[in-house]
């Protein structure tokens, strides 16, 4: 990938939360229209529509796979439709798919759409699905594993191996909530949190309390991606993809390629590669858009980003330096903890927020003068990690 070859020119998003009456199709249709309008292009410019599959299945997926959206949108020059999914890493695998389509020259404008409606499923269905989502149904699920338990084990090991404290983990929730309070579409944007309140909430899976566990949400978002050449023509402030770096470690957490589980968070080398490929360093970043889904994992990722010594990112967050107005803004939409967890959409939501920030369209959450940011995502049992550096200019 040549640096700055592709660009984002518009985004769309609907409110996240519990909206059982709003179908997946309605979400997808609405976010698509918002993104097209925000990009300022004609719908007939769209040459490909890529969707993130709805997790836990849905007739929406069948429609998506068979290309309902271009017809519904009236994208009369659409040539390619596809669905791409890799769990929590879907935002990355989708973007790489889009880059391939753009590089092929078949079209210069691609629409990406995500929609999820968890509220259609019963408690038991959700419980069963999320017991197996991060685990292995033969080797882990018979032992009563859950996604919360998985995140709890990772957090427990991180706390045991580093100077980080459970109070610092709680402070991540407080910071993420502060960001979510600035987001009109966030599920949790009305009540502030305190460390005491987070620590005092019901114990779910030691050391995680209920306010340290994300909640599932209905929601969706979309974006329009194009070539840098076209972006400069049609958009006053495009956001360029400057670089990325990826790794896959395992599917079962027991197969993680690390000596100690707390090393799952040592992704410093990978982040450095992304920085280097962009010709930038951590000091150049105005925002750190971290996808973690659980606050302990936020610390593990932040440890890797070159702004703090490994094991001390909790001190940085607890000091308020990652809050709105602080020098190291993180996860400016509040991420899964603040927006709500939309399945494959958490990473897409964070990516859309990244684009908004660099376009200067982030509203009350806007980080003034933001030029560059690093964004990450990963899926399953912390199986993979992808860093992307975005910028609203291409570094010389």
């Amino acid at each position: 990938m040549a640096q700055g070859e592709f660009a984002l020119i518009g985004t769309g998003e609907v409110p996240y939360g519990r909206y059982p009456e709003r179908s997946e199709f309605e979400i997808a249709y609405r976010v698509a229209k918002l993104a097209i309008q925000d990009a300022g292009i004609d719908k007939d410019e769209i040459g490909a529509v890529i969707g993130a599959a709805h997790i836990m299945g849905s007739s929406y997926n069948t429609e998506l796979f068979f290309g309902r959206l271009p017809e519904a949108i009236g994208a009369r020059n659409c040539k390619i439709t596809a669905s791409t999914i890799s769990g929590g890493a879907s935002s990355f695998s989708i973007r790489k798919t889009v880059e391939g389509i753009l590089a092929s020259g078949e079209t210069d404008t691609v629409l990406v759409v995500h929609a999820q409606r968890f509220s259609q499923f019963g408690v038991n269905e959700l419980g069963k699905y999320f017991a197996a989502a991060g685990s292995d149904s033969e080797w882990d699920v018979p032992y009563g594993m859950t996604y919360n338990a998985l995140a709890a084990m990772v957090t427990q090991a991180y706390l045991a191996a580093t100077p980080a404290t459970i109070e610092e983990v709680a402070s991540v929730c407080v910071t993420l909530r502060k960001w979510a309070m600035l987001q009109p579409n966030a599920m949790f944007n009305s009540k502030e949190l305190t460390v005491e309140k987070v620590l005092g909430s019901r114990m779910v899976a030691y050391p995680l309390t209920s306010l340290m566990c994300n909640l599932l949400a209905d929601g969706g978002c979309a974006y329009v991606m194009t070539t840098a050449e076209k972006a400069r023509r049609v958009c006053s402030k495009p956001v360029y993809v400057l670089s990325d770096a990826s790794q896959y470690s395992h599917r079962s957490i027991t197969s993680a390629k690390v000596k100690d589980i707390s090393e799952l968070g040592t992704m410093g080398e990978l982040a450095s590669r992304a920085y280097e490929r962009a010709g930038l360093g951590p000091k150049d970043m105005d925002i750190f858009e971290i996808y973690a889904s659980y606050p302990g994992v936020t610390l593990m990722v932040l440890d890797s980003l070159g702004i703090t010594e490994p094991g001390t990112s909790g001190q940085l967050i607890a000091s308020g330096k990652c809050d709105p107005g602080g020098p190291y803004p993180i996860s400016t939409n509040g991420e899964a903890m603040g927006m709500g967890h939309t399945g494959t959409g958490v990473g897409l939501g964070l990516f859309v927020e990244s684009v908004r920030q660099l376009q200067g369209k982030a509203g009350r959450a806007q980080v003034e003068g933001a030029r560059f940011l690093i964004e990450n995502c990963g899926g399953g049992a912390f199986m993979d990690c992808h860093f992307t550096v975005l910028g609203n200019e291409i570094p010389a």
Partner: protein, 152 residues
């Protein structure tokens, strides 16, 4: 608690099948593990070509890609790698077990497994502590290897 659970089951309209504990669904390349567990033996698959242990097993050896294996007896010793104590929001079939410990254990042979730590004081769990295998006959067909602190 038990009565509470049947009330919740009724409230949610769940069948007995819905609330049955999930059991392993063995593959052709994992069946010997479960057969041995039923006899209260812990076995691991070792590659005859390169000697690597592998768990969970797949059709070929992760290290050398060959498909020639032996199942060998494990020492039945492990150390605690990471753990959690589950208190709330677990799948329905595990409600009656709360609070229970799920953990990652690292066996003496170097492979890791998800399991439960049983017969232990939850407050005394420490990463790195030594564990020994115990066997839990969860159904007529399946026995789950679990772990307890050594000497308990």
């Amino acid at each position: 608690m038990q009565q509470n659970i049947s009330e919740i089951q009724q409230m949610l309209g769940l069948s007995d099948e819905d609330v049955a504990k999930p059991l392993p669904e063995p593959t052709p390349w994992s069946q010997p593990f479960w057969d041995a567990a039923r006899e209260h033996r812990l076995v691991l698959r070792r590659c005859n070509t390169c000697g690597a242990y592998q768990h969970p097993p797949y059709p070929s050896c992760e290290a050398c890609y060959e498909e020639d294996f032996s199942w060998v007896d494990a020492a039945g010793r492990a150390s605690l790698w990471a753990y959690t104590v589950n208190h709330f929001a677990v799948p329905f079939p595990f409600l009656a077990d709360l609070p229970y410990v799920t953990a990652i254990v690292e066996l003496a042979e170097g492979v890791r497994m998800i399991s439960n730590i049983v017969e232990c004081d939850h407050d005394s769990l420490r990463n790195g502590m030594e564990l020994e295998v115990v066997f839990d006959d969860v159904s007529d067909e399946f026995t789950l290897p679990k772990w307890k602190p050594v000497g308990r």
